[in-house]
């Protein structure tokens, strides 16, 4: 127990804390500038000087740890003078342009000057001038105002791990500059922006429009861009979002945001937002009233079900919509229309991957906590860059490295490049080879005695490639050896699985290898999720085989739980999955489809095929916030409300259930669940729902995993699924691994002039909504083709050139960007930009084991675009 006295008040703690923290405990305020949440103390601003008895000089409260019997004074005359002096020093070079500074009103320097500063300055020498940089699309840097507290630099280095900014020059000429000089060349996370205590680094989005007292309302909500589910606060004035700020106290992200979360909110006010319901009349989509659209839809659906039976109807749900929206869609499809044909884009990767792993280890195997990653001592990443797909999860991976843990990346290291020791960047298609080798080595070294005979048997059936083969696919023996050696030593490892493990073939084998590796290492699994509610979409039964709460359809045929609890009779038989629906539409067995918040024409490969299939439907209804490629084919289009305009719940990749709260209402759209409930009602549904809470109440009544979760109790960090990372069910059944005993084939390298195309998950545009966000488009406005510089050279192409990519399925235009991280002979294109998306120019097959997407026809030619 340590006892100290601060200003005559006795403080007792059992921990060795700093004077600053101790003073805070008893409500004594010590002013600080360079201290910031989550950052280690710097002691450089000298604002927090305090007097300690028996010490001749004043000491900084933020750095000095308390010792027993210490007597501290924070309000003596000398200290007041010291504070005044520090503020005077800071102000001699600080422009007094508060009236036009965006920070005024919440500026720490301003507040402290008002409280402790001198009334007038004595500095006559002329202020230092530093450049103001407007070069960045989203950040303005005004180094006149900088007080060099280095909070931004320390945030960038220690928390974000991007090392993008630094102090340059020395002494009174010091200023903060991006490493790249001039413009930032970074992830644009903007975390420096929330660290800046003055107006030196500010957002360009609300530049000169923001004043703290203009904020009329603020709402704590969940970010709608990726599967992490960061907590953030929307600040609004007259129904527009003025800015988004992180919440340092609540949420799993503890104050960190990424570029999408912080800047990508402006898509909600895009001018192309749908304003009213549309119905196709004489081939044209024309605006109609809500009643007409709802009644028309109900009438058409009723008619088609009567004519062709329930099996002719299908629904596509979305990971962008809330749990309530998805629940209502499956209710419409299953219980109102009588069809089990419901699926979502989760089918493309997330659903098959998670359900495969759950079949290996039991339900809930991927329900691990993201903040827990930081406590791990090693992270193994395969199949995708977490720093771009789930950026805040990526930050957790970097913090492992920061604490001395090891990071291993199979494939392109991307944003984790500076955190790994060796690249394991293999040739395209050789992932299974590398994984097999690593798994076999770790298995051998661990001397592992498995309790699971099924996995054990499969492990021993593996054929291990020899080193020569691995060298031929471009992996160094040194790197492999290092990886195997270090993996064995890990005590608390994490395995992160990205979409590339499944998307390009060998899906079941890759998943088996990673699952088994995690099993052998006794680690924790994470599956990257690029939409905010993909998991929730599955939990709501938006998958043909499972009902609400993950209950298999087969169980319902004899358990009748849905029928007993909610009076809902589940249709018999397994429904069609996403691909089968497309095929069904093509062949004519599916006649009507309801697509909610999804854009299958753009997001499922082979655009022409999907497009023609949807055109063959007798009735297609779409609810979305924009007139997407799919919506423009529809017979009825419902304008939905966007992420910031509705209430509801999201389930993130760790299966944390979080509340989304309604902020602005800039469109005239309605929440999807409301639209669907109206249609259900028109079709004769008995229940009526007043608000989103009543929908949730019904869910929690019938879903076994959500039972007892009250809507009101979902606040802050609360409300997680009942998984403590432990499987809910034991491991029983066998599972299939395709090509287990085959020696993985050496990938056939593309012939000269032809390149294998991959999907680029870029940080700025990993969400399909990002193309409607002016801020994000400002950062990356054109489609980029990432390619190895050697390959580019061999094709006679140079950096920043406009190129045409041609495959058997289509063409796209992009700007070529040399990227050393890409293996030779491989190029990557993102699936973001209209008419130039990756998935529009490739084909697909269905993985026989996983029933997931297997992208084919990826061999392309790349040519210089003709000059216009």
């Amino acid at each position: 127990m340590i006892k100290i006295t601060i200003d005559g008040i006795e403080v007792q703690t059992d921990r060795e804390i700093t004077i600053l923290e101790a003073a805070k405990q008893v409500g004594i305020e010590i002013p600080t500038l360079c201290t910031f949440k989550n950052l280690s103390p710097s002691g450089s601003c000298r604002m927090c000087l305090v007097e300690i008895e028996r010490l001749s000089r004043p000491q900084t409260a933020c750095t000095v740890k308390i010792t027993d019997g210490m007597v501290v004074r924070t309000n003596s005359e000398a200290i007041m003078r010291a504070r005044k002096a520090v503020l005077e020093f800071l102000l001699i070079n600080h422009p007094l342009d508060c009236p036009v500074c965006d920070k005024a009103g919440e500026c720490i320097l301003q507040d402290l000057s008002a409280k402790y500063g001198a009334a007038a300055g004595r500095f006559k020498e002329g202020k230092r001038t530093n450049p103001v940089s407007f070069e960045d699309p989203v950040i303005v840097r005004d180094m006149q105002r900088c007080i060099l507290c280095t909070r931004c630099v320390r945030t960038c280095d220690d928390l974000q791990g991007a090392f993008a900014i630094s102090v340059i020059n020395r002494g009174s000429h010091s200023l903060i500059e991006p490493f790249s000089g001039g413009r930032f060349d970074c992830e644009y996370c903007g975390n420096c922006l929330s660290a800046c205590p003055v107006g030196a680094i500010t957002s360009k989005l609300h530049r000169h429009t923001y004043r703290p007292w203009y904020i009329e309302r603020q709402v704590e909500t969940i970010c709608g861009h990726c599967g992490v589910g960061c907590t953030l606060t929307l600040q609004m004035r007259e129904n527009t979002i003025i800015r988004v700020i992180p919440d340092f106290e609540k949420g799993l992200n503890s104050g960190m945001l990424c570029v999408m979360g912080r800047f990508g909110y402006d898509y909600t006010e895009h001018e192309e937002r749908l304003r009213s319901p549309l119905i196709r009349k004489d081939g044209e989509l024309v605006p109609v009233s809500w009643e007409e659209a709802v009644e028309f839809t109900a009438w058409r659906l009723k008619e088609l079900v009567k004519k062709y039976g329930g099996g002719a109807v299908a629904g596509i749900a979305s990971g962008r919509c809330t749990n309530e929206d998805n629940y209502m869609l499956q209710k419409l499809i299953r219980y109102v229309l009588g069809s089990n044909n419901i699926d979502s884009a989760a089918r493309l990767f997330y659903r098959p991957a998670v359900s495969y792993l759950e079949r290996m280890f039991g339900q809930g195997i991927t329900a691990n906590l993201i903040p827990g990653i930081a406590n791990s001592d090693g992270v193994f990443v395969a199949g995708g860059d977490p720093t771009t797909i789930n950026p805040v999860l990526g930050i957790a991976v970097r913090s492992v490295w920061k604490k001395g843990g090891k990071v291993f990346v199979v494939g392109k290291s991307g944003g984790l490049r500076s955190n790994i020791k060796h690249e394991l960047n293999h040739a395209e298609g050789a992932g299974a080879l590398v994984l097999t080798w690593i798994l076999a080595k770790v298995y051998e070294k661990k001397n592992f005695i498995s309790e699971n005979s099924i996995i054990d048997k499969k492990l021993s059936a593996l054929k291990v490639p020899d080193m020569d083969m691995l060298v031929r696919v471009g992996v160094s023996p040194e790197a492999l050896q290092y990886t195997a050696d270090e993996l064995v030593r890990l005590k608390n490892p994490v395995v992160i699985i990205g979409p590339e493990t499944v998307l390009y073939g060998n899906g079941s084998k890759n998943l088996f290898l990673l699952g088994a590796l995690n099993y052998v290492l006794n680690g924790r699994l994470f599956v990257l999720m690029d939409e905010p509610n993909t998991q929730g979409c599955l939990d709501m039964g938006c998958s043909p085989g499972v009902l609400v709460g993950g209950r298999p359809v087969e169980l319902e045929t004899f358990g009748h739980k849905m029928e007993n609890t909610a009076g809902m009779k589940t249709p018999e038989g397994t429904g069609l999955n996403l691909f089968e629906m497309i095929n069904g539409a093509n062949s004519g067995s599916i006649k009507a489809m309801f697509v909610m918040g999804e854009n299958p024409v753009f997001n499922i490969p082979d655009k022409k095929k999907v497009e023609s299939a949807l055109q063959k439907l007798e009735f297609l209804a779409v609810s979305d916030i924009f007139l997407t490629e799919t919506a423009s084919l529809a017979d009825v289009v419902f304008p939905a409300s966007a992420w910031s305009e509705k209430d509801g719940t999201y389930t993130n990749l760790e299966r944390r259930l979080q509340r989304l709260r309604k902020g602005t209402m800039s469109s005239r759209g309605r929440a999807d669940w409301k639209i669907l409930a109206d249609i259900c009602k028109a079709l004769g549904m008995k229940e009526s729902y007043t608000d989103v809470k009543s929908v949730w109440d019904e869910i929690s009544r019938i879903s076994s995993v959500h039972s007892g979760v009250r809507y009101e109790s979902l606040i802050g960090r609360g409300g997680i699924w009942p998984y403590g990372g432990e499987p809910l069910r034991g491991i029983e059944g066998d599972f299939e691994v395709e090509g287990l005993e085959d020696m993985p084939e050496l990938p056939g390298f593309a012939q000269s002039g032809r390149v294998i195309l991959k999907e680029d998950k870029s940080l700025i545009h990993s969400s399909s909504l990002s193309r409607y966000s002016p801020a994000l488009m400002g950062v990356a406005s054109e489609p980029l083709l990432m390619i190895n510089p050697v390959t580019a050279q061999s094709l006679g192409l140079s950096d920043n050139e406009r190129v045409v990519i041609t495959s058997d399925k289509g063409t796209a235009v992009a700007i070529l960007r040399a990227d050393r991280g890409m293996p030779e002979g491989v190029a990557a294109l993102s699936n973001t930009f209209k008419d130039n998306g990756f998935r529009s120019i490739v084909g697909y097959t269905i993985d026989p084991t996983l029933k997931s997407l297997n992208i084919t026809d990826r061999v392309v030619t790349i040519e210089r675009a003709k000059q216009l």
Binding site: L96, G126, Q144, H208
Partner: protein, 208 residues
């Protein structure tokens, strides 16, 4: 609570005027005469009432009347930089300001609106303004039939300045009533501010 209230009530006893005195007072209309005394006295003096529409009373200098935005004589633009302090300090929240970023990255005041009907003429906005950009003119005759007329836009407010504070009147106003304020916020000569900003729109150097 209740106990306290009872304690607070003090019962006043009125002295009752009884007998002859009361009778005499009633007979001689003493109380009525007392009441009529003032009326009788003023009956023969010059009336103080002004016949308002015909006869207008000049406002005293510094009278807080209709609002105006100060026009910078050099640039002919509003002096207002859109700092929003007036909106922040306004007790009846009747000032609304919308600003945005201009072409040269300067702060542009898009909308400056005062809902005159909500204003309580405290002049805190004038006091808060670091640039002496908002005033209350001496003009007080602005009755109207339409509520919308009382929503002062930026253009109307600038017009008010030209109309009611023309000539040296405006200068006088600040000198006499708000002069010291403006001086306090005068930017020192060699202070580096507003690099790359248009001097025409926002001029801090001439902010007195």
């Amino acid at each position: 609570m209740n106990d306290m209230k009872i304690k607070d009530v003090v019962v006043m006893e009125r002295k009752e005027d009884t007998g002859i005195g009361r009778f005499l007072k009633t007979v001689f209309f003493v109380e009525i005469l007392q009441g009529m005394k003032l009326t009788l006295k003023t009956m023969f003096t010059k009336p103080v009432t002004r016949q308002y529409p015909k006869e207008k009373r000049p406002a005293m200098p510094g009278f807080r009347g209709l609002h105006a935005l100060v026009r910078n004589p050099e640039t002919q633009q509003a002096k207002c930089v859109g700092c929003g302090l007036c909106a922040a300090v306004c007790p009846s929240r009747c000032i609304t300001i919308y600003t945005s970023e201009g072409e040269k990255h300067e702060k542009v005041v898009d909308r400056y609106e005062i809902e005159v009907l909500r204003c309580l003429y405290c002049a805190l906005c004038v006091e808060a303004c670091p640039f002496g950009a908002v005033v209350l003119t001496e003009h007080y005759e602005y009755a109207g039939y339409n509520k919308a007329d009382f929503k002062m836009t930026k253009d109307k407010l600038l017009e008010n300045w030209d109309k009611y504070m023309a000539g040296t009147k405006g200068e006088e106003y600040f000198k006499r009533f708000w002069g010291p304020r403006a001086d306090d916020f005068k930017t020192p000569e060699n202070q580096a501010v507003f690099k790359g900003r248009s001097q025409s729109k926002v001029d801090l150097h001439n902010a007195e």
